[in-house]
Every structure is written in structure tokens, then in C-alpha cells.
Amino acid sequence: MANRDATARIQPRKQDLEDAYAPPANFLEIDVLNPETHGIGNKRFTDYELRMRTNLPIFRVKESCVRRRYSDFEWLRGELERDSKIVVPPLPGKALSRQLPFRGDDGIFEEDFIEDRRQGLEQFINKIAGHPLAQNEKCLHIFLLEPVIDKNYVPGKVRLT
């Protein structure tokens, strides 16, 4: 019969206790919170607070907090579709029908609608930000970390330094 050595378990390397009990190196959480509607009449728009906490070294800060509106998310999605090789997940709906006149309700400023959209945006950004290839795109870093998005930025890759 086959001797025990032939099928013995391969000896593993000992794991550092630091590594075993430290927080995992894959911590990345993005919350989309506190929707606020600004402006009056038909010049109104809603934006959301984007709070990121992470220990991934690819991001130059460990925490960030910015405000973003739906069209900013559309901008990010467009940039990633063009520049990165990933399949970008879909955004929650644009809800054009809600922007038509003569509606009984408040259209896109309805509370329920804003809450649904908030959840969809949160799922979207977490999916993307966790993708190793998306993490190399400048547009994602601008979106998550910069208070104001410079739409005239030079597209490119981010490297770990």
C-alpha cells in the first residue's frame, strides 16, 4: 500500500499571531447617508454623503467624507466603462418619468424614492470600490476622496507607492 509519507499533509508555515488576530487587510466600507435636497422650485437637486473607511493601502487616506449627487455617480460609471476593463454594474434607475410635470407627488424628491436610490447607490459604490482593477483608476479615487470632482482631470491609473 502507499506509504504514509506519500500522502502526508504538507507542513504549513507558522502564522504570525499579529496576522492571525489583527483586523483583516481587506477592510473597506462605504456608506451612502444623509440625503439632502438643495435649492428651490425646479432648480432643486438631491445629494448624498459618502463616507469611506478602509485600511487598503491603495487609498491615500484611511477615512473620507464627501457629498455626491446622482449625476456624479453617472460620471464615475462612464469613466470606468471607458477606461477600465471591468464590467461595471448598473446604477439605480434614472427615473425620468418622475421628472415629468403634472405629477401628483413630489417626483424625484419623494422620500421613498430617495431612500430606494440611496440603497442602490450604496450597493453600486461598494461593488465597484472592492474591485481590484477599479481601485487602480484615478476617477474612483477622485470620486471617493475629492470634495469637488474636476471633470477636466487627466484619466489614468493609480499605483501603490
Binding site: I10, D19, A20, A25, N26, I58
Partner: protein
């Protein structure tokens, strides 16, 4: 003389091929084209195939005119997309009877001595390799043909060189792993022992599995066609690992339907096996690494010599040996193995 035999309609006779040594010879299972399993007698390279052919007239007193009776041993490769062309890589014939007439039931002995069977029998998705005996009673209008399959296994000794597979792979800054498999060549009842060591984990892994993938390649050049089949899926880790963790692998091969690795068989097809390590993260993204392994059929430790019970023939192409009481002639030669040391 009935009308049916006059016009050559209907069989007129029952023909049967009976192989020698049925009480001692092992049988082996093989799939048919439509996926059913069949059992046939198992022969190895170099073994003699002998037996007898029995022809029984359906109605006593009738006569069967024929233009010759022969038995052939054929090894052929059939490509399913090219049905018209069976590629015969082995073909031997024994003439059993000259043109004449049968007036009673008759039986002929035949022997294909120490015949080469260079490849293993294989039934796949797009190609089939089979060995069979074909008895033909040549007649004016339509021949009486009977085929009898056998199964051939190719055996290999345990390879001298069987290094382990050890490699570091990953995605820069996101995931680095080192995988190790204890061997590169495994036999059909072997066990894959290995480990996965995590060097860098910056993604959220949900689970990890090991797959065995069979790739059947048919055709040459621009007409190459690869058929991939996942033979096994085995989860080896559930949950998120961290840096420095090792995950053991122990995968028993005898539970899966594997064949030996077949490389460029008669320049017509190949069957190769790959280990596919797959990691899946929280967002269902899949990260994978494929690695080819060689699968072989191990020779048994003890081999009994095959005894030939039928009478021996003097020359290779003369037949006309109607059944005589079989002399108990023991052939002391043991089957000749293929000494296939697995090369890379």
C-alpha cells in the same frame, strides 16, 4: 430452399464471436456514445486475442452460399463531426473460409497473436477510440457482419520523476497566494495533497474551491476544437482567510470519472486534465489559476500470465481451421506491457 435465402433477404444464420478465456479475463466498463455504460473484455497491449466464430443456420436443412468468411481486428478513431471517415490505426485480418457453401452449423477458431494495441479505449464528447473484432460473411447481395468490442487499457509504471507543483500567483496589491500540489503526475486512484498559503489578502473572499477540468481537443491547426468539462468541484475553504493562513487540500481521485491523460493520439485528439483553483469574493468575482496535471493508469503489482486455450495456428494468414477439439496448449508468455514512463 426457402425464398428468403434464395433472394438473400433476412439473416439466414446467427453468427457469434466467442472470445477465449472468458472465465479468467477481467471486464472493464466503458461509456457508449449515448452515455450508457457497457462492459467488455479487457485486453492489454501485446496480449493475444483469440477465440472462435460460430455460425448457426437459422433453419435446419437450408444452405448458406457465401463468397468468403473472415474476421478482422480493428482499432479505430471516430471523430463525431466527421462520421464518414473512421480512421483505422490498426487492422488485421484472418481469412476463415474460402468462398463456398455452408450446409450445417460451423465454428472457426481464430487468433491474433500478441497484437499491438498502442492506445487506450476512449469514449468522449467529440471523439471515440475503440477496438473491435468484425466477422464478415461475404454474400452476393449483402454481407452478414457482426462486431464485438473489446476494451483496451494502457498501463504505466510509477514515474521516476514526479516533482511537486509549487507556484506563487496573484493580482498586484490585492491578492497573492502560493499554491502547492504534492505531485505533477497522479494515477487514477491517487489522492491530490496540497496547500494554499495566503501571502496577501486585500479582497473579501467568500470561499475557495478546487476543480478538475477535462479538456478534449480534436482536430488540427485552425480546426482545433476544445471541449471543456468540469469533472469535479470540491470546496476547500469557506470564509475569509487572512495573511499567513494555510489551507490544506486532500482530493481523492477514485471518486471521479477520469481517464489517463492522452496526448496527441495518432495526431487526432488529446485528453488533458487541469486542476483549477477558484477563489470567489463577496461580490461573486472569481479569481482562478489552472494547472495541468498528468493522469495515468497504474500497473497492478502482480500480473498473472495469460493462458491461451485454443489451438495454435502455424501461419498468420491461412485459416480454414474448422473447430477441432482444443488442445490444452498453455502459452507461457505473459502479456507485454507498454513501458510508458510519463514524460513531460
Amino acid at each position: 430452399m426457402s425464398l428468403s435465402s434464395f433472394f438473400g433477404f433476412g439473416q439466414g444464420a446467427d453468427v457469434e464471436i466467442i472470445l477465449d478465456g472468458q472465465d479468467t479475463r477481467k471486464m472493464a466498463e466503458i461509456k457508449t456514445e449515448d452515455g450508457k455504460k457497457e462492459k467488455h473484455y479487457l485486453y492489454l497491449d501485446g496480449e493475444t486475442i483469440s477465440g472462435k466464430v460460430s455460425i448457426k443456420l437459422k433453419k435446419a436443412g437450408t444452405r448458406l452460399e457465401h463468397h468468403g468468411i473472415k474476421v478482422e481486428f480493428v482499432g479505430q478513431i471516430e471523430l463525431y463531426y466527421d462520421r464518414g471517415n473512421h480512421h483505422e490505426f490498426t487492422s488485421l485480418v484472418r481469412e476463415l473460409a474460402r468462398p463456398g457453401e455452408l450446409t450445417s452449423n460451423v465454428s472457426y477458431d481464430f487468433e491474433f497473436n500478441q497484437v499491438e494495441k498502442p492506445y487506450e479505449s476512449y469514449t468522449g464528447t467529440n471523439v471515440r477510440l475503440r477496438y473491435f473484432l468484425r466477422l464478415t460473411v461475404v454474400k452476393r447481395l449483402s454481407d452478414l457482419v457482426k462486431e464485438q468490442d473489446i476494451v483496451v487499457h494502457t498501463l504505466s509504471h510509477y514515474p521516476d520523476m514526479n516533482s511537486s507543483i509549487k507556484m506563487e500567483v496573484g493580482i498586484e496589491d490585492s491578492l497573492h497566494i502560493e499554491f502547492e500540489y504534492n505531485k505533477s503526475k497522479y494515477h487514477l486512484q491517487d489522492v491530490i495533497v496540497g496547500k494554499i498559503y495566503f501571502i496577501l489578502v486585500r479582497i473579501k473572499i467568500r470561499h475557495m474551491e478546487l476543480q478538475i477540468i477535462k479538456r478534449e481537443t480534436t482536430g488540427i491547426g485552425p480546426n482545433t476544437f476544445n471541449e471543456n468539462e468540469t469533472i469535479a468541484k470540491f470546496e476547500i475553504m469557506d470564509g475569509a482567510p487572512v495573511r499567513g493562513e494555510s489551507i490544506p487540500i486532500r482530493l481523492f481521485l477514485n471518486g471521479y470519472e477520469l481517464t489517463p491523460t492522452m496526448r496527441d493520439i495518432n495526431k487526432k485528439f488529446s485528453v488533458r486534465y487541469y486542476l483549477n483553483l477558484v477563489l470567489v469574493d463577496e461580490e461573486d468575482r472569481r479569481y482562478f489559476k489552472q494547472q495541468e496535471i498528468t493522469v495515468f493508469r497504474k500497473a497492478d503489482k502482480v500480473r498473472k500470465s495469460v493462458r491461451n486455450a485454443s489451438a495454435k495456428f502455424g501461419s498468420q494468414d491461412v485459416a480454414a481451421h474448422v473447430q477441432s477439439p482444443s488442445s490444452d496448449h498453455t502459452d507461457a508468455s505473459s502479456p507485454r506491457y507498454e513501458h510508458n514512463y510519463i514524460a513531460d
